[in-house]
Symmetry: C2
Subunit: 313 residues, 2 copies
C-alpha cells in the first residue's frame, strides 16, 4: 500500500514506522523543520519498549509534498488540530482520484475540515489507544501496548476500512473494526475534555488532579454536557462508565504521574492546544442543538486565555 | 465610643487607627500571633500615604478577649471569611446587651453567620472602598483615598447607623449612609467575583487579565449570574455598568498592575480564600432560587481544588 502519514510526531511516527517495517511504501509529512531535518539526516529513531530502532523513511515538509512523488492509496492524518487545514491544503499533490484518508487525531469534528479537501465517501475515522511521545527532533518513545478502532464515515468506505484493517493488522497495529466509532470518539474526547484541560488549568499531573476535592463533580458536569450533545447525534454515552474510567486512569498504578498532552503543549511547549476540538467542539454543538454547555464553554475560554497569556504559538 | 475591631490586617488596622486617633476607646483582636506580638512590642505602624505613624492600641488574640476588659458599644468585623465564625465565638466577653456589630468584610452572606452570635436588629453592614495592605507583622500600608457605605440590616438599627456615621466622619473615614447597601454589596462582590478569581486561576495581574481575549465574555456571564440572584432579592444590578467598571479598574492607569487579594491569599500566602462568600455564595443562592449559576459553580470548584493542591491553610 502507498501510504502518506501526515504528522511525524510521536503517534504519526508509530504508524509510519510500523507500516514501513511491514513492507508498505510510506512517506511522512511534517511541518516542524528541525524534525524533518533530523529524520533525513539520521533516520527516524524510536525507543520501542526499550529496544532502539532506526528506520529510513522518506520525509518532507508540507511545502515539499510534490517532491514526495507519491499517488497515495491512503493518507493517515495525525497532526495537531490547529495544523490540519494548512497541511491538507499543502499535500494536494499526494492525492489521486481514489485516495482514502483516515483521521486518527484526538477530538471531535475533524471530519468537517476533512470534507473540504476529501470526497466524503473516501473519509474514514479512527481512535487510537496507543501511546507515543517525542524525545526530540527525529526521536520518539513508543511504550506499552494499544489498539486502534476504525470505521468508515459513509457506508461506501466500508471496503476500504477492511483493507486498512488488513494492512494495520499485518503491521502489528492491532486494528479493530468498530460498528460505533462515533461512540469511541465521544468517549475519548470526553476523557480528554476532563483530564487534559483540568491538568493544564490546575498545573498538575493526573494523580494530583484526581486527589482534588471537586474533580469528580467537575468531571460529572463535563461528561453530562458531552453526553447531551452526543445524544443529539444518536450516541448514548454511558456517563457512569466514562466518569469511572477518568478516575481509574488517574490512579498512580495507571498513568497517574503522567502530564497529559494538553499540559505538555501549553505549559511545557507553549503551543496552542486542541481545545477547540474537545470542549470547544461541545460548545459549538451545544449552540447548534440548543443544549447548555457552560462548563465546556468556560473551560474553553480559560484555556484560550491562558494560551494568549503565555504566548502560545 | 468603645470600639473593638476584629481583624488587625490592613483594613482592620486602618479603621482601628483612624478611630483611635479620633479619641475613641479602641481595642483590636487578631488571630495572627506574630502580628499581635509585634503591635504589642512596637505599636501599630502605618505608612499613611508616605507618612510613617505609630499608634499604641491595645491588641489581643481571640483567646485573650476577656483580658480586653471592654463592654463594646460597637464591634467592627474585618477578618477573612473563613475566620469569622471562630472569632465571633471567641470574643463573646466583649459583648454587652446592646453591643452593635458592623460587618465591613468583602463578600455576600456574612450576616447569616453574624445572626448566630448577634441579635439581628443589632447588625449593620457596610462596604469599604478604602484600600489597605500588610507589609508584615504590625506594619500596614494605607494609601490613597476612599469611603465607606453603611446601612442597618433591619430598620431598628438605623439610629445606630447614624451614630456610627458620626463617629466615622469625625475619624476621617468618609462614611455615607446608603439607602441600598445590598446593591453596593452585590456590585463589589461581583467585581471581586470576576477579577480576584480569574487572576488567581490564570496566575496574572489585573492588566494581564483584561488583555486576555475571553475575559470580557467570562465577565458578562459571571455578572449575569450575580444579577439573576440579586434580582430574586429585589436588587436590580446594572450589568453594563458593572462590566464596564471591571474593565476600567484593570486599566494600567488605575490599579491594573495590582495582584488582587485572592491572588495574594492563594498564590503568595497559601491561605484559604473568600471564594465561598463571593462566587460560592452565588452558587448557594442559585440552588435556593432555582437559578443556574454554572460559571460561579465551576470557578468556586476550581479555586477550592487549587487551595487543596497548594496546601492552603
Amino acid at each position: 500500500m502507498k501510504i502518506a502519514v501526515l504528522g511525524a510526531g510521536g503517534m504519526g511516527s508509530r504508524f509510519g514506522l510500523y507500516l514501513h517495517r511491514a513492507g508498505n511504501e510510506v512517506v511522512m509529512i511534517d511541518g516542524w523543520k528541525a524534525n524533518v531535518d533530523a529524520i533525513r539526516a539520521n533516520g527516524l529513531k524510536a525507543d520501542l519498549n526499550g529496544t532502539e530502532i532506526v528506520d529510513r523513511i522518506p520525509v518532507f515538509t508540507p511545502e515539499e509534498a510534490d517532491k514526495a512523488d507519491m499517488n497515495a492509496d491512503l493518507i493517515i492524518v495525525l497532526v495537531k488540530a490547529p495544523q490540519l487545514e494548512g497541511i491538507l491544503e499543502a499535500v494536494k499533490p499526494l492525492f489521486k482520484e481514489d485516495t482514502h484518508v483516515i483521521c486518527l487525531m484526538n477530538g471531535i469534528g475533524h471530519e468537517d475540515v476533512l470534507k473540504k479537501y476529501v470526497k466524503p465517501e473516501n473519509i474514514l475515522l479512527g481512535v487510537t489507544m496507543w501511546t507515543a511521545g517525542m524525545k526530540g527532533p527525529g526521536s520518539v518513545e513508543l511504550l506499552g501496548d494499544g489498539y486502534v478502532e476504525i470505521q468508515e464515515l459513509y457506508p461506501e468506505g466500508k471496503e476500504e476500512a477492511l483493507k486498512i484493517i488488513d494492512a494495520f493488522d499485518k503491521a502489528g497495529l492491532r486494528p479493530k473494526y468498530s460498528e460505533n466509532l462515533h461512540y469511541s470518539i465521544y468517549r475519548k474526547a470526553c476523557i480528554n475534555g476532563v483530564i487534559n484541560t483540568l491538568c493544564a488549568l490546575m498545573d498538575c499531573n493526573m494523580m494530583e488532579l484526581a486527589a482534588m476535592p471537586y474533580t469528580a463533580d467537575i468531571s460529572r458536569k463535563i461528561v453530562s454536557e458531552f453526553a447531551a450533545c452526543a445524544a443529539k447525534e444518536g450516541v448514548t454515552l454511558d456517563q457512569e462508565e466514562v466518569n469511572k474510567a477518568i478516575l481509574v486512569s488517574c490512579e498512580p498504578e495507571h498513568i497517574g504521574k503522567h502530564y497529559p498532552s494538553m499540559y505538555q503543549d501549553l505549559i511545557n511547549n507553549h503551543r496552542k492546544t486542541e481545545i477547540d476540538y474537545i470542549n470547544g467542539a461541545i460548545s459549538r454543538k451545544g449552540k447548534r442543538y440548543d443544549v447548555p454547555t457552560p462548563y465546556c464553554d468556560l473551560i474553553t475560554e480559560l484555556i484560550h486565555n491562558k494560551e494568549q497569556f503565555i504566548g502560545a504559538k
